[in-house]
Structures are given as structure tokens and as C-alpha cells.
Amino acid sequence: MKKLFASREALLMIAIAVLLGVISLRFPAFVAPSNLLGVFNDTSPLILLAIGQMIVILTKCIDLSVAANLALTGMVVSLVNIAAPGLPIIAIVAIAICFGTLLGMFNGILVWKLAIPPIVVTLGTMTIFRGIIFLLTEGKWVNSHEMSDAFKAVPRADLIGLPVLSWIAIAAVILFSIVMTRTSLGRAFYAAGGNPQAATYAGINVGLTQFWAFAISGAIAGLTGYLWVSRFAVAYVDVAGGFELTVVAACVIGGVSIMGGIGSVPGALLGALFLGIIANALPVVNISPFWQMAISGGAIIIAVILNAQANRTQGRIILKRAEHAT
């Protein structure tokens, strides 16, 4: 019982339940199932990106280029769609994933082969990716009427009562829950960040593992890029500007330790949902959306303080056990 309360996921669930409860006191319509599904759908891009970011952070890295990757890939697939409107959507999705992966791999190779600190690499590629969008388009927008109908239809298409966008987020949660807990690659991510030296002795190539983390984060960002521009039916330089910080915030709130090695897919999911609910609730409870930024900043700080406390007590408990054992 105590262990259940101590777990970050349980705490977050309680926090989310309290949050929803408070909102429902004055605005019962907000917690209607249809609205909650809408909130989930709205948060799906954040959930996807948070999962990718979590994997990168697990390996002691950080990927600040996800939002720029999303915007660049979104623009590239929009341009492909204009150039070849007849191209089937499955090909568009494949292009988005491959292109995003390549951008992620570029980050990864700089971190792996040249051992450049990830924060420097991704701060740099963040501006480079956005700059490339400008070079591709000279700052012009790709608007709704230029995109083919099939291109725009996918994320909204209804599948057993839920939009495809929501289903993709659900699929990613399930897929990566399995990858992170049931495959050797998943365990390697934890090992590479939790204790790089021990991981090396155990035969894990830490640099290569980090490279794959960036590749996965890039692939997810690329896919989300297509979903984003097709859902909003517009692509331009500043798509998802500053969203990388929201993604990192979702991870930190979800209990992912920035020092690496600690975190889980359900945690990232709940962290993203927490921010998504706040973002959707602000206009409902009549608070200016300008509060959003300060709230997520405050949430990051509180979460990182809680994370540090949690890790500290964990350490003490292990020590006590060791003392009892001897």
C-alpha cells in the first residue's frame, strides 16, 4: 500500500483526479466522457513526443530539437503532398517517419561519434531545422486548400468512436511499454543512463544506445509532424514553436529523472495528460491562456523538486535494508 502511494504514477493519477474534481465542481460538462476524449485527442501529439523524449532522457541525454523536427518534417510532407497529390497516405506516413528518423540520427551521430553534449547538439539543430523550413519555403505558409483531402482526413478519421490521432497515441503507449520493459533494447536504455560504466561492462554500447534513443525520438517527432500539420491543415516555420519545453515538462512531471535511468511510459503519459488537462481547462475556467507558460514552468520546478526528494528517500531505504541484512 505504501509502495503504491510512493510511486510517481499513483501520485500523478491522484493529482489528475483532484484536478478534474475541482474543475467539475463548477464546470461539470468538462468531465463528460465526450469532452475527456476530446482532451485526450488534443493531448495525443504531446503524449507521442513525451514518450520519445523520455527514452532520450533515460540515456542521460535531452532532445530540444523535437518541435523543430516536427515542424520541418511536417513542412516536407506538405510539400511532397503539393508536388504529388496522388501519393497514397501510407507513403506520406513512411516519408514522415523516415525523414524524422534521419533528423534524429543526425543528432544521435553527433552525440555518439563526436561526444558533443546533447544539449549543445539539439540547441543547435533546433535552430538549424527551423531555418531549413524557411529556406525551403522562403517563409511562406502551406495552407489548407493546397493540401489534398486525403492528406487532411487521416488524423480526424473516426475508428470505433475515436479519431485515428488518439489511436496512434494509444498504440505508441502500448508499443513502447512493451519495448521498454520486455526487450533488451528497452533495458539497454535504462542501463545506459542509470549507470553508463556498469552498462559498458555488461556489454552495452552506451553511445550506440543513445544514438538509437535519438533515432526513436526523431521517428516519433516525424510522425507527429505529419499528424500535426494535417490536423491543423497548415504548415509554416513556427509550427509548435517552443513545444520542446512542454514535452520536457511532461516528462519531468511524469517522474522521468533528468539524470537518466529513471522513468516509465505510463509516467510520461500521465505527465502529458496532466499538462493537456490544464491547457484545455484554462479557457473553460476563464483564465487567460497566457497563464499556460508560467504554470508549466512552475510545474517543472515542483516536479523536479519532488523527483529529487523521491530519489533521496529511495537511497536511504536501500541503505537501511543493507544494514538490516548484515
Binding site: 535531452i62 553527433l110 563526436l114 561526444a115 558533443i116 553534449p117 544539449i119 549543445v120 547538439v121 540547441l123 543547435g124 539543430t125 533546433m126 535552430t127 538549424i128 527551423r130 531555418g131 531549413i132 524557411f134 529556406l135 517563409g139 516555420v237 519545453l245 520536457v248 515538462a249 519531468v252 533528468i258 539524470m259 487567460s288 497566457f290 497563464w291 499556460q292 507558460m293 508560467a294 504554470i295 508549466s296 514552468g297 512552475g298 517543472i300 520546478i301 523536479v304 523538486i305 529529487a308
Partner: protein, 326 residues
């Protein structure tokens, strides 16, 4: 890699060391850019144009000096641009109720110091990683500006307040440039000629070792965060005075340019080494590059590609060079 290494039988002469240093290389680059610019545009070699060009880097460089010390000590502050926004907003709000120039300066500096103290307290007091803390405070500080200002702007600063950003001390020598030079000298002395400076290097190379040598690691780091906050306050005064208005989006993305300036100046992003003269030359290099590209009508976002590429390039090239030599 070869197993036998050439062990030198004597130290390299001071002259040789200076000639082969990063700073010398950077100086050559700066001269090269200067010459190239004067060939590329007939408007470059004009005293007033060159004086205008210094505004491209003076405010950023003031923060970069404090940031250099912080990075040498192994920490980082990504919230500097957000501190500018908050300090500028506070000054704007005060100007609306008729506070005079002295009062505005005092408010700008105090907000900077307070923000620096908040960062420093979280990092040194609670032992949290500075990257996440300052990503959090970056959203928090700028978020507060957004809450206060929304989509509005503050104007109507007292007329003598304009001197800080628009005044000239003598002929083309602006007040900002003199302030920049003065701050450069102060930080060069602080880092290279005082016990405090040696302590900064010691902490960056081996924090535990420094602690056992009697250096108060936490206190030194706290002072460095204070100084970075203070410099952000100074930069906020100059920038607000120069623009004559405050929007919450003021100085967006400056944290990246400031970190780039510091890294370009030869400061090791992992801490432990770097020099103030290097940062000074790097400031000139970045100022000349942006000014030269501006004269050639290159849009700002393309310049940001150059800056992003510079950031990655200056770290990658020496490592590629070493890999190639082995």
C-alpha cells in the same frame, strides 16, 4: 591509436602556446570576417555602421561573461532571456506609474538579482540539476511576463532612460559599448586574477576535490547564479532603453545565442576551462557575422542557421580533427 606517445622534454614556450591557442585562431577568424565583409559590402567600412553593429552583441556579451563563469563551474543558466523579459516587464510596469530613471534601473537590477537568487537557491540549496531548473524558470519568468502583459506592450519610458541604449559617450562610441568593455575587464580580472576565479576553475574540474580543498562550492555557485541574474538585469535595462518598449516576447532565443557565444569563445561546455578574452573575441565574431549578413540582406532566420551551425561546428571540428589525426 599509437601506443608510443611523444613526451615533450620541455614546456612549450609562452609565445608558442599563445600562437596556437583557440583565442588566436578566433582572432584570425574575426579579422578574416572583417576583411571579407568590407569587400562584400561598400557600406561596411563606415564608422557609424560599425558602431551600430556593436549593438548586435554588446547586450548579449554582458550576459555571456557571467554565463562563461557559470559554465566553467559546470552549471548552465537557460533562463537568462526570460529574466530579461521579466525585468523589462517590471520596469515597464513601474514606468507606467511614473517611476523615474534611477528607480527603473534599481528595479531592473533587483529583478535580475532576485531571479538569479531563485535559480541559485534551487540548484545549490536543493541540489537540483541546473539544466532542468533553468528550463523550468525560463518558462516561469517569461510566463509571468505573459500573465502581466498578455498581447499588450509597455511604452512611455522617461526620456532620459533612453541614454542607456541610445546614448553616445564620445563620437561613435556608445554608452553600451563602454559598459560592455568595462564589464569585460571586470570579469577578466575576476576570473583570471582572483582567488574566486581559481575556485571557479577548480569547481568545474573537480567539484568534490574543490570541496575537500576548502572551497565553498555551493556558495561560489550561488554567487555565479546571482551574477548571471544581475547581468541579465543590466542587459534588460540596455535593451529596454534601446527599444523603448517592452513585449513579453522580448529577447526570445537569446539564451541560445549567449551559450553559443560562450562556447565559441573556447569555454568547455562540460566545465573546467575557458577564458574571458576568448568570449570577447567570440562576441565580435558573432556581431560581425550577423551584421555582415544583414548588410547582404540575409533574413534573420537564416542567420540563426549560421549560429546553430557555428555552435555545433566549433565543438565538432576540433574533435573531427583529432579523430582524423589518430
Amino acid at each position: 591509436m599509437s601506443t608510443t606517445r611523444n613526451i615533450p622534454d620541455r614546456l612549450r614556450s609562452p609565445l608558442e602556446r599563445n600562437l596556437k591557442s583557440w583565442e588566436t585562431l578566433l582572432l584570425l577568424v574575426a579579422i578574416g570576417i572583417f576583411v571579407a565583409n568590407s569587400f562584400a559590402s561598400p557600406y561596411f567600412l563606415d564608422a557609424w555602421n560599425l558602431s551600430d553593429a556593436t549593438f548586435n552583441f554588446t547586450e548579449k556579451a554582458m550576459i555571456a561573461f557571467a554565463m562563461a563563469l557559470l559554465i566553467i563551474s559546470g552549471e548552465i543558466d537557460l533562463s537568462v532571456a526570460a529574466i530579461i523579459a521579466l525585468a523589462s516587464t517590471a520596469m515597464g510596469a513601474a514606468a507606467q506609474v511614473g517611476v523615474g530613471t534611477e528607480g527603473l534601473v534599481l528595479i531592473g537590477l533587483s529583478v535580475g538579482l532576485a531571479c538569479g537568487a531563485f535559480n541559485g537557491l534551487l540548484v545549490t540549496g536543493l541540489g537540483l540539476p541546473s539544466i532542468v531548473v533553468t528550463i523550468g524558470t525560463m518558462s516561469l519568468f517569461r510566463g509571468i511576463s505573459f500573465i502581466i502583459l498578455g498581447d499588450q506592450a509597455y511604452r512611455g519610458y522617461p526620456s532620459d532612460f533612453a541614454y542607456f541604449g541610445q546614448g553616445y559617450v564620445w563620437w561613435v562610441i556608445s554608452f553600451e559599448f563602454v559598459l560592455f568593455a568595462l564589464i569585460a575587464v571586470i570579469y577578466a580580472v575576476l576570473l583570471h586574477l582572483t582567488n574566486f576565479g581559481r575556485a571557479v576553475y577548480a569547481i568545474g574540474n573537480n567539484a568534490t576535490g574543490a570541496l575537500f580543498s576548502g572551497i565553498r562550492v555551493g556558495r561560489v555557485k550561488f554567487i555565479l547564479f546571482l551574477l548571471t541574474g544581475l547581468m541579465s538585469g543590466v542587459a534588460a535595462i540596455c535593451l529596454t532603453s534601446r527599444l523603448g518598449s517592452t513585449r513579453p516576447s522580448i529577447a526570445t532565443g537569446w539564451e541560445l545565442e549567449i551559450v553559443t557565444m560562450v562556447v565559441l569563445g573556447g569555454v568547455n561546455i562540460l566545465g573546467g576551462s575557458g577564458s574571458i578574452p576568448g568570449v570577447v573575441i567570440a562576441a565580435f565574431v558573432m556581431g560581425l557575422v550577423t551584421f555582415g549578413l544583414g548588410l547582404l540582406n540575409v533574413p534573420g532566420i537564416v542567420m540563426s542557421i549560421v549560429i546553430g551551425a557555428l555552435l555545433i561546428g566549433v565543438i565538432a571540428l576540433p574533435r573531427l580533427w583529432q579523430m582524423w589525426r589518430h
